[in-house]
């Protein structure tokens, strides 16, 4: 059948994702990133609650440049996932599904995640 002649265009470098698509794939990437780093967050929480020494250790990590970078990364992942998730919940409720509004809300999600990360970064540094 001629079905197999359909063009396949899956070059990830060349695909131009529309904004809602970008928000969607970043939602997945940020979720995976947080899953992959969950052990580190649990370890930080445990250390900070276990003893005064552990608290000082966790605070010291949060003040090191690597720790700040880590927290900013996690912070962006959390905020993007949070805002994009709220947007998906609204879309599930059939709110904002019109093309223009959906495009604008995806832009808003991206901006809110980046702005929140900037605020976090400035307050950490």
């Amino acid at each position: 059948m001629p079905q197999s002649n359909r063009p396949k265009y899956l070059n990830l470098v060349q695909i131009r994702l529309p904004l809602p698509g970008l928000v969607s794939i970043l939602h997945r990437i940020s979720g995976f990133g947080m899953f992959a780093l969950a052990w580190a967050m649990l370890w930080l929480l445990q250390s900070s609650l276990q003893s005064a020494d552990g608290y000082a250790q966790a605070a010291g990590f949060a003040q090191s440049w690597f720790g700040k970078l880590f927290l900013i990364g996690i912070g962006w992942a959390f905020m993007h996932h949070f805002f994009a998730g709220l947007r998906f919940l609204l879309l599930d409720a059939h709110l904002g599904t019109e093309l223009q509004i959906a495009r604008r809300s995806s832009g808003l999600v991206l901006v809110l995640g980046i702005l929140g990360t900037l605020v976090l970064g400035v307050s950490l540094w």
């Binding site: 969950a38 900070s48 949070f82």
Partner: protein, 115 residues
């Protein structure tokens, strides 16, 4: 009366719903927690520990963690279903994810109740 729909298996409906309910639980906890931390920022170990010392706070935080791990399971399952086409590899990775998340849940209980 049970309404049966012939088309579509609807296997994913429960997971879809769980993903959204757990998301709402986590969102509520996150907003309240971040808000509370902004209002009265704990400045040292004793104040930080005091945040988690009431029983209701430990239970609320545990609910957050259980929602998080259940939510993460559905998300990771979706990712593995999309990108790992070999059934054996996908099954193996799914088992690893489940074991990890169950271990995390036990770890979260230990963290919260050894304060």
């Amino acid at each position: 009366m049970v309404t049966r729909v012939v088309t579509g298996a609807h296997y994913g409906l429960k997971d879809w719903l769980v993903q959204r309910v757990t998301a709402l639980i986590m969102a509520a906890y996150s907003i309240l927690f971040v808000g509370a931390m902004l209002v009265c920022t704990p400045g040292d170990y004793d104040e930080w520990r005091a945040v988690f010392s009431p029983q209701w706070m430990r239970l609320a935080t545990l609910l957050f963690f259980l929602s998080l791990f259940w939510h993460a399971w559905i998300g990771m399952r979706d990712i593995l279903m999309d990108y790992v086409s070999s059934t054996a590899a996908r099954l193996g990775l799914q088992v690893v994810v489940i074991l990890l998340l169950v271990a995390y849940a036990a770890w979260a209980v230990q963290i919260l109740w050894s304060i």
